[in-house]
């Protein structure tokens, strides 16, 4: 791999020289694989969703390549999280012929179900021959597949789905994934079902929760009681601009559409209080992963007894 990259680099330089001699525009040639887009050049590459406020919160739009994190608070939200991820892939990647690789460990596939091609085709326009499903029992193997796959530049996108907040998925691993995905030029979406926010190298982190769908539209107006296109409640938890924001998005005919909550025709609270989801206010302003982790310890984390002040320890019962 390393050798081939070097050879490609040399060939690219030679092509540039030839283009210069011939008076052609070197920019029409393929871009140098070694250089990552950065600065204002990167901003030009950003993919706009078409929703003004959402794009602004993201700092211009979605980056077309690299690592992005999507969080869901419970396994039962996996349908919404993966749905949002597939919608993003549809939006970001135009390599329609390349296959999408969906990697998961066996635990999440048991817990939340395997990808079902007919449903994906209908809603997200993903052809059944454009889906590869990789699965391994151990997290180390899942990460190995992901890291190797991130180098295969013939993929459309990678969905890496992991349940919980494992320690193996640390800053180093995610940085490696991010860099490889950037070089390969496709989005790598890290789906963390029932996970806690952890410090990772992803420049963008969104919390995704389901939202009640709007009724189906018919010629005679909305059909009461029907379930329309998928809707998501998306909270920008980490982004370049660090503008905290929360949106209700609908995926209609291959584009995102924002739905304002007062327009919701169903007299139903949008988010149930019992779902264990952090309130929107808690997520806002905590753009940094480190802060979040400190502010709200993970569910399994119990401080040792010595850490409590004595007066609290005495008063604690049960």
């Amino acid at each position: 791999m390393a050798q081939s990259a070097r050879v490609r680099d040399v060939v690219c330089t030679l092509r540039h020289q030839i283009a210069k001699i011939e008076g052609r525009l070197a920019e029409t040639l393929q871009k140098r694989p070694g250089g990552l887009p950065s600065g204002p050049a990167a901003a030009a590459h950003l993919v706009r969703t078409g929703i003004e406020s959402f794009d602004r919160a993201l700092g211009g739009g979605f980056p077309p390549a690299g690592l992005m994190e999507l969080y869901g608070t419970a396994s039962r939200d996996a349908g919404a999280v993966s749905g949002f991820a597939l919608a993003l892939v549809r939006l970001l990647s135009n390599r329609v012929d390349a296959p999408l690789l969906w990697i998961g460990n066996s635990e999440i596939f048991r817990e939340a179900g395997r990808p079902y091609a007919p449903g994906l085709a209908a809603v997200f326009g993903l052809r059944p021959d454009g889906l590869l499903v990789a699965e391994a029992e151990r997290l180390a193997d899942v990460l190995w597949i992901a890291e190797e796959a991130a180098r295969v530049d013939a993929l459309r996108a990678i969905l890496l789905e992991i349940r919980g907040s494992p320690h193996a998925l640390d800053l180093t691993v995610t940085r490696r994934l991010h860099r490889r995905a950037l070089l390969s030029g496709f989005p790598l979406l890290l789906l963390r079902e029932a996970g806690e926010a952890q410090p990772t190298a992803a420049p963008l982190r969104l919390m995704v929760a389901p939202a009640p769908a709007a009724p189906r539209l018919t010629l005679a107006g909305p059909l009461p009681g029907s379930i329309g296109p998928p809707a998501f409640r998306v909270t920008v938890s980490k982004s370049r601009t660090a503008i905290p924001a929360s949106f209700t998005l609908e995926w209609v005919d291959d584009v995102f559409r924002e739905r304002h909550e007062h327009v919701a025709t169903d007299p139903v609270p949008l988010v149930s209080a019992s779902s264990g989801r952090p309130a929107a206010a808690a997520a806002i302003g905590k753009g940094m992963a480190v802060e979040r982790l400190g502010a709200r310890p993970a569910a399994g984390f119990q401080p040792a007894g010595e850490q409590y002040p004595t007066h609290r320890r005495a008063g604690r019962k049960g």
Partner: protein
Amino acid sequence: MGIAEARALHPQIEVVESDPQADRRLLESLADWCDRYTPLVALDGEDGLFLDISGCAHLFGGERGLLDDLLTRFFHQGFDVRAGLASTPGAAWAAARFGKSDVVAPGEEETLLAPLPLAALRLDKDVQAGLESVGLRTTGAIMAAPRAPLVRRFGKAVTLRLDQAMGRIEEPISPRLPVPPLMVERRLAEPIGLMEDIEALVEMLARQLKAELERRVEGAERLQLKLFRVDGDVRQVSVRASRPLREPRLVQKLFHERLAAQQNSLDAGCGFELVRLCALETAQLEASQTDLDQGDRNAEGDVALFADRVRARLGNHAIRQVRLVESHIPERAAVLVPFSADCDLAPSEKASSAMSEKDRPSRLFDLPECVEVSFAEVPDGPPLHFRWRRAAYRALRAEGPERISPEWWRGGEAGATRDYFRVEDEAGRRYWLYREGLYGEADTSPRWYLQGLSA
């Protein structure tokens, strides 16, 4: 003789229960080891091996040299073996068990067999007993006897075995393993045990194999690496490629993953002294023009190579693709099958019926999960309250039912009619539930299942 009697005679004897399966395994592992002399190794009964060494003897310094090498190595492994070498399997069998000299020159079968007892002819017990009862006690006596009465009285087996041993009738041996189309090997003066050494050797062998494959305009689809350990153990590692390949680097990569996965079970012990790379299956592969920047691998090839590596390391089911099946039953309509590069993935006309329906879930459980429904509209309405995984859900909106009848034409278990509902709960999660059976049809009330999650 009973154990008690034997112990009375020799108090120090050790009693071990017979284990025919273990004996068989040992014989098979010996057969694997004999693979180093010839690929044509056959098992013979419970205690013998046939080796067809046609065209192999010169590699070991002639027939005598091969036999000596084999006997020496077996001796050092702790086996007491007897060997016979002859132009026919029958004569070799007799020479190994009854003969005085182990190498029988062509044409000398008669002088070898004549003084031997009837058992040297591999006859059935009752046939042998019958022959002995009429006074024919040696092979020589049968050779001298008129054939027609022998056949009439004792069947064709007697003369057949005799003719086979004498080389008048060809007797094939059936090798245990198919002979690989191509193989290359390397004998090592100094045994190797390190993974890096083995991988380097694999690449070297693959380079030799490449020349041979190029000559045949073929690529290998299945490759096997045989590692012969110094103490006689043979380790086999095989990999499969979804498209024919002959590039040494790619072969080495596949084996790298496979060896990494088997690192614990691949016990190098004192090292491997013989490494062999076989192409078990080959397929046509035309040479292609390579680009200057090595951009010859097209997109699909790269994915196929990646998938092969994943499969080599984690097994065949680690990476899968979708195959659509013409069926109304949702879990049967789209199944995940192991990845293969050349399989036709275009959705067929028949299977597209499953694709046209809009409201399928995006995720499907392996097995539909049982749901307790406390309230449902009777007879065929959606559930209003349900419990799934010990949590209660209230269905606010529902679409359905969509009735799917069992596929009676398949036979076997027909199952019950399913009524599917799309249900949305208070938080906006969308589920795909079905009711199996109908209310009021049978004595038992129908059961509810949750089969998938929608976006």
